[in-house]
């Protein structure tokens, strides 16, 4: 497994899709900084404030990383490398788990790159401009920022688990990408459109979508004209459990299916 992970790291470093998304996040964090600065002043209530601000901008990670996860899960079938790797004695379970763990590494790298860069640039601009940096809400901002960071990693992992399951089942990049689009936007639509439905069941579906949880922990979820935040322990457990359940189901389904099916590339 360690050798396989080593090989995947090498592949990712050379992968144009991965390099492209790193570049997109670089541009993204600079663009968001410019947008934030142009909208209001640079004064911040605590040195941790830019971290919680970055969390609220992290939504666009969900439109980029699942695409990369999709390409990454099907590349072995696309180029045929899965054939050589399995024939070299790597078990199918460790092949898929290795892929998933590599994707987690990608997610952590991307989230840290995006958030870290935004934070560093924001602080530099604040210091240069001589804007006020308070220390009123240091603890609250740090908790909000780091919680969002952790949840973002978990939810991106859950999205990736779904998308990689699709990729491993479909095995064709073009088809898998279309399904990935449907999943991402479908989840987004379910979260938004069903939230005010008259049906209790549809509202329940909306309440439990991944996007609803993401908007909640990012502090962007509004229902009945009121912002809904995570307050109680139950809220945190609920938001934390959903991605874990999704990851567990997707990994199990993928491993079982991959173990059983023949490989023809």
């Amino acid at each position: 497994m360690r050798d396989f992970l080593n090989g995947q790291t090498f592949y990712l470093k050379k992968d144009t899709t991965f390099r492209s998304i790193c570049f997109i996040f670089l541009i993204g964090s600079i663009a968001l900084l410019v947008l934030t600065v142009s909208k209001g002043g640079m004064d911040i209530s605590s040195p941790m404030k830019p971290l919680s601000m970055a969390a609220s901008f992290s939504l666009f990670l969900y439109f980029v990383i699942p695409m990369q996860a999709c390409f990454f899960s099907t590349e072995g079938f696309e180029y045929g490398s899965v054939k050589n790797i399995i024939a070299s004695g790597q078990s199918r379970t460790s092949y898929f788990m290795g892929k998933f763990l590599s994707e987690i590494k990608v997610i952590i790298w991307c989230v840290l790159q995006f958030t870290g860069l935004f934070y560093v640039l924001y602080m530099i601009v604040t210091l240069i401009s001589g804007a006020h940096i308070g220390d009123d809400s240091l603890r609250e901002d740090a908790i909000a920022g780091f919680t969002a960071l952790g949840f973002n990693i978990m939810y991106l992992a859950a999205y990736s688990a779904i998308v990689m399951m699709v990729g491993m089942l479909v095995r064709k990049t073009a088809s898998a990408i279309i399904i990935t689009f449907v999943i991402i936007f479908g989840d987004f639509l379910l979260s938004g459109y069903l939230k005010d439905s008259s049906s209790a069941f549809l509202r329940m579906v909306s309440d439990n979508t991944l996007m609803t949880q993401i908007l909640k922990f990012s502090g962007m979820y509004v229902k009945d004209s009121e912002r809904v935040l995570l307050t109680s322990m139950n809220d945190y457990v609920h938001v934390g459990l959903i991605p874990l359940i999704i990851i567990a189901i997707c990994l199990t389904v993928t491993v079982i299916s991959f173990e059983k099916r023949d490989i023809h590339t």
């Binding site: 050798d3 090498f10 050379k14 399995i86 070299s88």
Partner: protein, 308 residues
Amino acid sequence: MNTTIFEAKGLTKRYGSSLALQDINMTIDPGDIYGFVGENGAGKTTLMKVIGGLVHPTDGKISLFGKSDKKDLNYARRQVGFLIEMPALYPHLNAEENLIFYCRTYGIKDDHRIRIADVLQAVSLSDSGSKKTSDYSLGMRQRLGLAIALLNNPKFLVLDEPINGLDPSGIVEVRKILEHLVKERGVTILISSHILNELQLLATKFGFIHHGRLIKEISAAELLKSAETRICIQTPNPALAAQILKYELQLESIVITEAGEIQIPKENTDLEKLMSILLQKGIQMEGINVSTPNLENYYMDLIGGANS
């Protein structure tokens, strides 16, 4: 101890209602170069995929280096080099980067640069190591696929049509590489190819597969003994020529092939007399040659028999 390299017992693979492999029983011993012969869709690639663990057999079992449990088989596969169907290459990487990827994935502990230089030299791609594989010709891709198969210093090589797309000099080169591997490193090889003349030059044992069934196994020495030398005559009127020869030489076993060639067993046939008869009777001859026993004829006879 001389453990069998590969063994299949009652191996069957079914895809829906069609049988890709039917009750295959075969062994490959150390040092063998096993030539696998069969038409497209006969089951050659399926068998190779079963060896590689890519395809699950419906019935029967295989063993590699004497190991047949799932876990042991996976471990045994580390000593096998595969080139199945098209070589698995990343087009955006150059040859060296492709090889580094596989070196890391296979957990090769030696210095990667030395190993990569070795295998690139072995397949005559040393000068093209830094070229992107998207710019490679089909032949170069095949050779790089072979280099990947050689990366882990395999004791057993499974090669599915490795000389596909190679030019004549490339074919000779690959043959030399494989001969060298057998001689110097004692590598055992299972190889399939449609270029039967080439396969005959290389293999020490042949297996003929037809409609998923292994219909015959024969050693190279047995092949030479079993097949008879024939006189082959090309003429515009083979039926008339055959009739004359039958009458004049009292020959019973004259065959006219589908291509219109007359074939006569060389044994007990006087070639000079045969030619003079045909000339006397005014039969125009476009060509005459003596065919030595070869794999192609043997295979065609065998398949003809199997079909009938």
